[in-house]
Amino acid sequence: MSNKNYFSSEHLASHFEAIKPQLPGGDVKWLETFRENCMERFLETGIPGPRVEEWKYTNLGLLKDKSFEVSENQTDIDQSFIDTLSIPGLKGSKVVFIDGYLSKTYTSIKKEDEIILSSLTDLVKNNPDRAKALFNNHNSASSLFNLNLALMTGGYVLLIDENKKLAEPIQIIHFASQATKSNALRTQNFIEISSGGGAQIIENFVSLNKDFKWRQNNTQITLAKNASLEIYQFQNESSETLHMAETYIDVEDEADFKHFSLNIGARISRTELKPTLIGKHANIELRGAFLARNGSSHDVFTHMKHMVPEGTSDQVYRGVLDKGGKSAFQGRVYVAKDAQLTNAEQSNKNLILDRSAEANSKPELLIYADDVKCAHGATVGELDQEALFYLKSRGLDHKAAKALLVEAFVSEVFDDIKIEPVRQKYLTLARDWLEQGE
């Protein structure tokens, strides 16, 4: 607590004490102890301030003296509304969180998925041993990850058996309602895919509430040998939301992890992806776009750890910053001494549409092996005026010409998505965002 680089976080300790009894699983002794331990670990440092290197572009000062309230929402939402948050044409299981709590009403888990997909609280109740194992080891996770573990109100657990491949993508909807009094929504998810197994997950974050909201949605992922996982995220939170998503991924031999994200909403969004390649020939692809204007800021922080030889990783991020928008991409690549023949690539390009916008890009390569291929590129540029005139000379008005160019710039990230309705959703959201500009 004495560390001046962190904000005083005692108010979160009192918040924890106040809501502890009402948290899901509050009557389960081991879980309570687990939560307390996590809280302690969080308090060892607290909320990182802008002087902490990883947080230099995102100031969490707004959390300093906020008071927090958490309650389960009772209001009913229309099924038809939930449908509008879903991706049309997909038939798989759907898990719906409303204000941080899993909604039994709207969640629909397909018969064939029942044994693999469950709510975190159900798992704690029905299979405490498995739950304990999942909650086992988070000593090395960040302070905020521990905070979320202490305060989580729900989450999903996906446990896939050997060689089982899900036929349909699972949709996860994180919705913040208008009616809720909660201003802190915290979910924690676990995904474990056994060797040869595979899954696809689509996560959609939407909020309607115009008041301040702090959302944390963290995920712990383990991919065994030959396993594969694709995650597609859409973040379109309301303009007062602080959105944080932190994901740890342990990747074993020949496993394959792909992550696509689009950030267009929230006041501040922070996406942290921390894959560790612990098995040979693992492959990781991170792709994302962030679009910001009007005081909104997005911060993508990746930490790729190549611990063993012959792994490949590729990161492609595109930022579009309009009037009053801000972004940061920090891509840290660590290649351990033994991780020879690693191939790690990283590219971040940013397009500034207005002089008041700001884009930060900070690649950081920590390479201790000598026989590796690591490439990185970061650019910040403006729209190509010659291309703009070319399009206008063919009849497109300024706005349409600009939209076409920006869409081309962004869509590079989503071009090779195989699930067509998902690719369409990315494009539609990006187009809508552009449409709202000047």
Binding site: A387, F389, L391, K392, S393, R394, A400, L404, A408, S411
Partner: protein, 251 residues
């Protein structure tokens, strides 16, 4: 159709066009020749409304309308087309989508409905075939990785698709091989009609052998210094600009 009077154009504070006059009637083909740096491309940009080309004096009327007040896209909507000397590469935008957006933007400007997808496909296939362009190129990003000649041919496909009333073709013949030149020239000739007009900017007589102009002008140092019929081009080809008292090194 097009009437340019006393046109003065500045780029980055530098005077490029210095009192240019040009009148083109419907049904006519005009050719402009002139040394490098004379201001030919500048004229084409001024007609099409490129930003940064400041008109400090003079006027351009198109079909009786003062077009200097119109944005580039509005001029396209009015029926003006520019074949670029250096066509621009647009990564990530396919030729197909680009043309669809262009056609429908122009139709929208004219208060017409969007073109049906099937009609569009039919049209584009027909035009690509006429100009002997490989249909695969329509799927590729606009001009990205195209050879110099392919880019010029792509300009012609766009012209054919958009069916303009008045076209400026800025050195469309440069970089074309002998067969391509003939194909492009045929394309230009197809666009000739009593209701339309074309201004070709070129350095070479060989294009004018195929596309025989009604008038030939010489642009030098920001002005039209001589006008004549097709014979003028022949004369220049033989004797160079020096006979007109123009120093080729000082445009």
């Amino acid at each position: 159709m097009l009437e340019i009077k006393n046109l003065h154009v500045e780029v980055d504070g530098q005077k490029i066009l210095k009192g240019l006059n040009l009148k083109i009637n419907a049904g006519e083909v005009h050719a402009i020749m002139g040394p490098n740096g004379a201001g030919k491309s500048t004229l084409s940009y001024a007609i099409c409304g490129k930003e940064g080309y400041e008109i400090t004096e003079g006027s351009i009327f198109f079909k009786g309308k003062n077009i200097l007040e119109l944005e580039a896209n509005e001029r396209a909507g009015e029926g003006i087309f520019l074949g670029f000397q250096y066509p621009v590469e647009i990564p990530g935008v396919s030729n197909m989508n680009f043309l669809k957006a262009a056609i429908n933007s122009i139709r929208k400007y004219r208060g017409e409905d969007e073109m049906a997808a099937v009609d569009f496909l039919k049209l584009i296939r027909a035009k690509a075939a006429e100009l002997e362009m490989d249909p695969e190129m329509l799927k590729r990003a606009v001009n990205v990785g195209f050879s110099g000649g392919e880019k010029k041919r792509n300009e012609m496909v766009q012209m054919a698709m958009l069916d303009p009333i008045f076209s400026v073709l800025d050195e469309t013949d440069s970089g074309l091989d002998i067969d391509a030149l003939r194909i492009v020239a045929d394309g230009i000739n197809k666009m000739r009609s009593p209701e339309k007009a074309i201004l070709v900017i070129t350095h070479y007589q060989r294009l004018l052998d195929y596309v025989v102009p009604d008038f030939v002008h010489v642009l030098s140092n920001g002005k039209i210094v001589k006008s004549g019929d097709k014979e003028l081009a022949h004369q220049l080809e033989k004797e160079g600009y020096a006979v007109l008292g123009i120093d080729e090194n000082a445009a």
